[in-house]
Amino acid sequence: MPPVDRVHDTVPMGYEITDGEIVVSGLTKHYKQVKAVDGLSFTVKPGRVTGFLGPNGAGKTTTLRLLLNLVTPTAGTGTIGGHRYADLADPLQHVGAVLEASSAHRGRTGRNHLRIICAAAGLPDSRADEVLELVGLAPAAKRKFKGYSLGMRQRLGIAAAMLGDPRVLILDEPANGLDPEGIRWMRDLLQKLANEGRTILVSSHLLSEMELLADDVVIIAAGKLIAQGPLEKVIAEMGDVGQVRVRTPDADKLAAALGSATVVKGDDGSLTIRGVDAAAVGEAALAAGIVLHELTTERPDLERVFLDLTAGKEAIR
């Protein structure tokens, strides 16, 4: 495992940076039996990490593959910086993608795998060594892919995506197979890349991870858009401003002082109050002369929002 400060040398190559906005418009992919993606529209802004969320089978992977010209859409378009992927002259210098961890020839070394991509993209061989250094795989560069752990394969995928120093990075479930340290490493890397002005679109079903990483979220289920926008806003718009947790020796007195608010007594002696904010609870307690031992606002977490939003949508069709 590399030291975490490795993420600070991303070796920009000075390619001209164009607007890296991703625009998905009416994107649709019907297979014989299922509508994998169904009239999906959303935008992804540069300079931010956008979490692409949905239950398994929601159509996340298909959407990303449609965007990258690997799957032909039934209808609609997906553009990156205003161009379809197939129309980009040097696609790897604009867009990097990490789609699956097990995507190299088992008998080939990690370095040769990258050199083959360099050759096809017209990049110098030296880029292979630079990105291996970036992801901390330099010691395993000359080892064959079949000897790589899942985490190393994931790092090799990220290395391949970074070869062309792209403005836009698209990652499909990159946290899969990474250990906690690896996940933290990746989070730091992606946030750093976003701070450099790049567009980062990362799909995941690991909601807790996205809460730490994402600035924006796009939530889909059954191939359709459920919600999109800044993470805070999507959570807030769930209509629930949150609940207040209080600990006090005078629970009944406080409940009476709060009047119309809903007060629920927890098993551990704490009170969960809905319908008023923390400031109102504090003021009411002061006015009634009640001692408070704890007063915190509990925001609804992404997981609850996500489960609420996607409830009733069949995950697997």
Binding site: T72, L88, L92, I116, A119, A121
Partner: protein
């Protein structure tokens, strides 16, 4: 150009190429020995009892093979049968590896124009075929000189017919790489494509010859005998014979048939690959 470099790098960075080259060279040694025995006992010094009971056409064929030019081309193109099979397998694997090892994703991300990728693969596999031909021929030429001198026959290496046979052998090595690419794009499964191709190439050649012989004997449809030349491995044998043997079509017809197979399989396969979903 950079695509061809990338594709050739793919062949070079796995074990497959030298395993195949070694297999081809081992079988080349075997084939040369069998051909030498065949020529020694079958054509140059046939036992007297074999002379009886052969019809006029076979006798004419034997007489034609006795010519130094025919003998030289026959020996110099030894090892072709298995050499072409390995070249075909390299062509197939060049394509099917991408799906077997799921590298098609990174290949088509680097180059969204899939036709260009297949063209580059075709060229890279063709180059591999040409290299294998060069190594094979570099071995068979001195071996042929030694063998024919020992038999008391003057090797006719400068003869235009022999040079043509060597040149046509190169064409065969390249065309079979192309046929391999064609099979690979048609049958995506690595195992399916290689096994099908090997069975058709080895057993298929004999099976076609037998079936056609039976049909000719049963139905007396003599035109069926000509149908066997449409079979790619038989066509390639015809092409590289270099001389027109009695009772056979012109050698260049075999070349056209091979080219046709490569073009048709490659074209259909490319059209399928262009719209295929990669997942």
């Amino acid at each position: 150009m950079r695509l061809i470099r990338s594709e050739f790098l793919k062949i070079r960075t796995t074990n497959v190429w030298w395993l195949f080259a070694m297999g081809a060279l081992l079988l080349l040694a075997l084939a040369f020995a069998i051909n030498a025995l065949n020529m020694h006992f079958g054509v140059l010094n046939p036992p007297p009892e074999a002379q009886q009971g052969i019809d006029a056409e076979q006798a004419a064929q034997l007489a034609a093979l006795k010519a130094p030019a025919a003998l030289t081309s026959y020996m110099v193109t030894s090892g072709q049968y298995f050499g072409l099979m390995f070249v075909m397998l390299i062509g197939i694997i060049t394509i099917t590896n991408e799906f077997y090892h799921q590298t098609a994703t990174s290949t088509f991300l680097a180059t969204p124009h899939r036709t260009a990728v297949i063209m580059a693969k075709t060229v890279a596999a063709g180059i591999f075929g040409a290299l294998l031909w060069a190594v094979t021929t570099a071995i068979t030429i001195p071996a042929t000189i030694i063998f024919l001198n020992a038999e008391g026959v003057e090797p006719a290496l400068g003869d235009s017919a022999v040079l043509r046979a060597i040149g046509l052998n190169l064409v065969a090595y390249v065309l079979w790489a192309l046929i391999g690419i064609g099979i690979g794009v048609l049958i995506r499964s690595q195992v399916g494509a290689t096994v099908t191709a090997m069975v058709v190439y080895t057993v298929g050649t004999i099976a076609v010859a037998i079936i056609i012989q039976v049909l000719v004997n049963l139905l007396h449809w003599d035109w069926i005998e000509d149908a066997q030349w449409a079979f790619p491995s038989i066509a390639s044998g015809l092409m590289v014979s270099g001389v027109d043997l009695p009772g056979q079509p012109h050698y260049w017809i075999g070349g056209l048939i091979l080219l046709g197979w490569a073009a048709v399989t490659g074209l259909i396969g490319t059209l399928i690959t262009r719209t295929r979903d990669i997942s």
